[in-house]
Amino acid sequence: MNHFVRRQRYLIDFTLASLGRRKGKNLGLLGVYTLIVFLLASVMLFSQSLRREAGLLLENAPEVVVQRMVAGRHDLIPVDYLERIGTLRGVVAKYGRLWGYFYDPAVQANYTLLVPRDRTINSGELIVGHGIARTRGLGTGDFISFRAASGTTFSFRVAEVLAADAELVSADLLLVNEADFRAFFGIAEGLYTDIALEVRNPKEVRTVAEKLTVLLPDTRPILREEILRTYDALFQWRQGIVFVLLAGSLLAFVIFAWDKASGLSAEEKREIGILKAIGWETGDVIRMKFWEGALVSLGAFLLGYLAAYGHVFIFDAALFAPVLKGWAVLYPQFHPQPFVDGLQVATLFFFTVFPYTVATVVPIWRAATTDPDAVMR
């Protein structure tokens, strides 16, 4: 065992010394290789983290949201729909929700106005999300004015700023009380944006939704499991799109790496010939080249993965922020939680380390099994 380890150690020493003789070329390869792993790993870690976070956060979303549709579009729902739902079996609570959008021309941003059920807000006051507070420079006690649907100006006092670590769900939220909301948007009493239902047994949610579509044919129930699936699909789609965009550079790298690894230069051929002439066995030459491939690819994988981990979980995926922002003025500042999927890391490892190592060994095996004299000529 000891002998085996020492033998491998000497082979590794020899391999590294051999790589050192072509320093520029090999460092260049390592750099490009690392960059590719960094990009792939960053996208993978970021998407996985967001997917897990979305899943954990939206676990608490309403079980069923009922929207009224008019000519294919979402419309306000009258309060008598709550009565028409009546006492559906399995539904433990039902309530109308009031929420809407407001475009603020001062900063060219869209806000989401919402009437909360879990807290009381005084008339003329509002609670702002941390994203809005940051963008508009607001703090508790400050006043802010908006032009309402009727053309009159509404002035609100900021009663509270929502927690900064909840920006991912609340960056653009403005919480106001029901009377202010109705007056601001000109929504009459008896109308809601949509209706939310709480269902005790998760197995009954689908049955409740089916009954709803019969009972209220002009409505569309949106289930929590659909919301969760939407977000799951979103981040898979996003990851897929980035991978497709990267496909060109990936292919270029594959060609480059394959050419580098499988095409033996005359110098390398001569080296193999000399090694065989001085008594190296074919197995030793192959082992030496295996270590070359394994060390380069493992080094690139480790460097790339570690850099990606730092980029996503220490620097909050700073390189991806412009892509996510789009034209949005309000963008949540959040710190992705390090949710790492072992299987994904293993897949990345397999697809980055294994092909390069094989590509290095195969041509060497061909060269190493031929006569040293022929190889050296």
Binding site: A61, T112, D118, A166, D172, L295, G299, L306, V323, P332
Partner: protein, 108 residues
Amino acid sequence: MHGTSATARLHHPGRAGTVPLLLLGAGLLLFAFTLLDAAWRGNDTALANSRQLVAGLGLTDLALFTEARYTRHLSQADRHTPFQDHPLALDHFPSGSLVPPPQRLQQP
């Protein structure tokens, strides 16, 4: 003196690999550290405030893309929202090219 160094070289021929191997070892240690870090920090305690807000306010979506209403509330959008200007209008928000329509709208 000369004899001693020659013997040393005989016992440790070609130590070119020491530094790169140490670096590789350090890299493997850091890799293991990232997995431990993920296991340690990767839980929902840091999300407690957000989870409480979602439950209390009945929120349905993440505030990731606030530029258009169908990207702000992805799960609540209907078929028409990306083409709100007129039926043949192309979706013109950058986020629109990055988000797929909600799954239930993809079913025929």
